[in-house]
Symmetry: D2
Subunit: 338 residues, 4 copies
């Protein structure tokens, strides 16, 4: 059984997560090398996992190791150069979201991979999570009739450190791009207009931080008439609160949070169960492994990738529209963004 | 123990509900008479309940029966005249919401009762529901820290008959006025800006019906920075879906639907429990009796009413702002409405 | 609409509860008098409720007031004399459970009411609770196929005061008689054998108190082969924990506890909701009013009572068998008890 | 990082599950060989997984492959011979439960491994399941005070094929041995007396099948006074229903079932969520990998095993006592079994 030989570029939090998954075992894939500009800091950890092919320079790695595909987890602003190089080598790519924080550069990436004709999957891992997957399945199979309203709750347990969001773009492009993708995926429709209310509400002391917004409510208008709302907070102290539902003409389909255990303690204070998981890494571990397995299957067996550059552009365009709406306090048509 | 002698004006669905509650027993209150312009249709039902003081003309009733207070449940466009008359008699009033569908007339009502100095309570029954009440209590006592986001789901199980919404104003003033009141009550703050997306989404064939909107998402911006969302549908086939939550700096407080029973059946198809109650009458029965008991207590013991004409104006102003937002597709400041 | 004229005998906790319900309004019934040997202690409370017909001697009351039916809530050991007297007057009776703590005397009561031919209902209120009622309905309608196993949890929030259980018989006859009745009612079958393990486990310091048992597990064998278990504790600090389920060939039907509200608070400690109600009075208020309304309907309209003396004997016989099993540490056939 | 070199003996359902886990990756362990008397049927499957060391004869395997430990998953009646042989080689052993269906032989196994002084862990996987583990943790840390009552629900989704239970002993030794182990583990106490009611209730047509019992209620009396109940069914059509709770002096701790997803669909029929998982393989996958990882850690690092032969004897003795109780219809003291 042939396995896809994957090299990982980037060894930050997300890079490490993919590396760990590949070492533990992702169906159809194997890790063959890792490159990171700050490799000195990661070499001990990688060696402990048995990863011996370590490189500082990804070009060097790709020149010396036999690789089928690359998993791009480096800083977002490095994606374009890496994609251009890997595309020139005609290797398949799995790239973390967003493609870039500048839409022009994201479109450039999409054009490069289209021209190169290489498989290219983007890291919208929630599509590979059992809960979201099942929700999508029942909606798309018509179990709740015609979809009319989508609601998503997207809350993080703790605020990012000062400055973190700036390099990552902003909350819309860094975090809620997942929610924009999911909203369209669940409704089976595209969004034509967004409106955002929000601000530095959880931590008003950071209102001066460039681009800092910690709490928003995003209203969506879909092309076929449906509506939606995404409520977002970067400070839900009880955990990673990630809910989604679709109301249709024949009923409602809704997914709930998962938690570490089902334990419930009843005492004089009340009936208490576990908090939701703390972060996306705790909440979505299986989805991260699944997305790579599906990617491997696509590449090895010549199947179309399930979520590609065009899907990412669709979500990123919405993130930009949301940012404009927030700054200009008006509804913004997605077609305004180009 | 003296009881407040209440006469009911109007014997429609809501009037009948209050009459039934008063006959079954509302603490501190007793029903002494009922007036309805279409009394002929109600006389048999009222006699069956033992209500013998029946009148076609409410002025006639108030002239002949010894009454402490009036419960106004007649058509909304009759409120103004009735209030003017009852105020001139210096009787206390419990009036169904909204005061009127025209804001100018609602303000007139508020001015009349203020001038008359009579107790005047408006039928925002949810404030007297155990769930909403407890939610308000924990939020206002600071159990979840500083409130940041309010979310309300407000769904009806079935569409109103064609034309019904027109005489009732529109969904914003007839139905969601409850949600506007609750959103401000829960946050302990006023809303300064609203934005609405929506349409005839559940039943597009009624898009031509004047003022018909069956599905909306309403975004709220509060004066002190908080945000909120109310999602509304007039066609949730599984029942009266009424949820509310407040996210604060120390946690989340949330209430769930109630259902007829806690029965749960597990079989080869899944694990199934009762649907939520079907309508507001099934969902909120206790709150309707409670609001009259609290009204009776206010009047009998000279306490201030808990929710008066000014509260209603605040909610009605929001309903108008929402209607403008929907029609003009732009965020509307509440201060624009006067 | 004629109402059943009910006189209450006994004004202890349960008597007061029925009195309050009748004053608030029980469909088809009205309270006409109250008798209690310790009337001096209750007279102020009763007068406050507007109950003016107050008697020390129930015979006196029945001689002087026009009464259709009697609600017997006095000390259990007084039931026999009262029933004999009321039966001689040919009045209908609603009698609290158990008929007596001595099975011989309970049988005497059953014989008296049978001979007199008067309507006689026993206070198994849970049969009139929405949850248990719905559970019984789905099981008896075959929704879960052939019933095979019944499980009941029956826990009280706090230990009775020292000595209380002695006068009340013991836990089996005073408390779990409800569970024995329910187990047979739900399974639609009779129990032929019981086995009990238990002891003074929650409060071992009361092991010396005559008849004191605070924690038991009761195993049931039904005549048609089914089995069951009732787990009982008098010290569940989190509240009145009352669960029931029936496993059948096509699935499981199960009811859960009810709680004051549906509020749920999520914070750094966990996700906490309300405790179950504290006592039977909080948990079953509607059922207590319902059972009297159904009794009134039976008497007024000549319908058979839904739960009579024979049903009570069936449950009391099981309580005695359980007590023997507990004391002799062996399975006991119900037919051994006579 | 050295890994424990494990050889698996037996390739039935459980053997295959352990093999699959070891191939996917169990921390600290690696699969080095598999032996099965019916290897011909498994060779293709094993080769597909990359397992090349395949043997018909386990002695042959142990003679030829460098092995640190053996995982014994063969038919229960072969355990004794295998354990004797492996013990003579001084290898560590992980052995599936029960040790044997004859208590005399189980004791022989325990004696052999004690004499040999080799690490020996028994397959009580539920101790390594997150839910049970957390329940045990909170109880043993005193969070619910002094434990008083333990309740376990142990239901399978489908009846075993005719004859299957006979070779496996009976339900008590084959299935409920898990529950006996868990009951004692959770209560931190030993059981001194058991009583069983039950029969061929789900499928009466198999009442004639030797040793066939599909439904039981097992009552437990603990040495320190606590009580417990285990209710068991081999036909819960809605899935693998595995609940456990401990009632203590300060509250209740309870675990619920897990299900494939958190999806909930609300429609005109009700509110429906996923059934519990179907079988132990679906319900406990992580626990099976965990138990091997913990075993590997014990052996590699010289730590005592967490659940050994003596624990298994304690559970098996209870299974025998239960079987006697069922057949003789009387409470049985565990000390009667030797």
């Amino acid at each position: 059984m042939r396995k896809l030989r994957i090299a990982v570029i980037g060894a930050g939090v997300i890079g490490k997560m993919h590396i760990r998954n590949l070492v533990k075992g992702v169906e159809g894939a194997e890790l063959v090398a890792v490159a990171s500009p700050s490799m000195a800091r990661h070499t001990e950890w990688l060696s402990g996992l048995g990863v011996t092919n370590q490189f500082v320079d990804y070009k060097d790695m790709l020149a010396r190791v036999d690789v089928d595909a690359v998993c791009i987890c480096s800083a977002t602003n490095t994606h374009l150069d890496i994609v251009r190089h890997v595309a020139s080598l005609k290797k398949a790519m799995f790239c973390e979201k967003p493609l870039d924080i500048h839409f022009r550069r994201s479109k450039e990436i999409a054009a490069i991979v289209k021209d190169a004709g290489v498989p290219f999957q983007v890291g919208f891992n929630r599509r590979f999570d059992a809960q979201f997957n099942q929700l999508h399945r029942v909606v798309s199979q018509g179990e709740i009739g015609r979809p009319q309203v989508v609601k998503i709750t997207s809350r993080e347990a703790e605020l990012p450190p000062r400055g973190a969001l700036k390099s990552a773009g902003n909350v819309f492009i860094d975090i809620h791009v997942h929610d924009f993708d999911m909203a369209q995926y669940l409704m089976g429709d595209t969004i034509e207009r967004v409106y955002v209310e929000g601000g530095a509400i959880a931590d008003p002391s950071r209102a001066d931080e460039e681009g800092f917004v910690d709490t928003t409510v995003i209203t969506l208008k879909f092309s076929n008439g449906g509506v939606g709302t995404i409520d977002c907070s970067l400070l839900a102290v009880y955990g990673h609160d990630q809910l989604a539902e679709v109301l249709g003409s024949k009923g409602l389909a809704k997914i709930n949070n998962t938690a570490p255990t089902t334990l419930e303690i009843s005492n004089e204070q009340g009936v208490t169960k576990d908090k939701p998981h703390f972060s996306c890494l705790d909440r979505y571990p299986v989805s991260y492994a699944n997305e790579l397995a599906v990617f491997a299957d696509s590449v090895l067996n010549g199947k179309p990738v399930l979520v590609g550059a065009e899907d990412s552009l669709r979500a990123e365009r919405l993130a930009l529209a949301a940012d404009i709406s927030y700054r200009e306090q008006r509804p913004v048509y997605v077609r305004e963004v180009n």
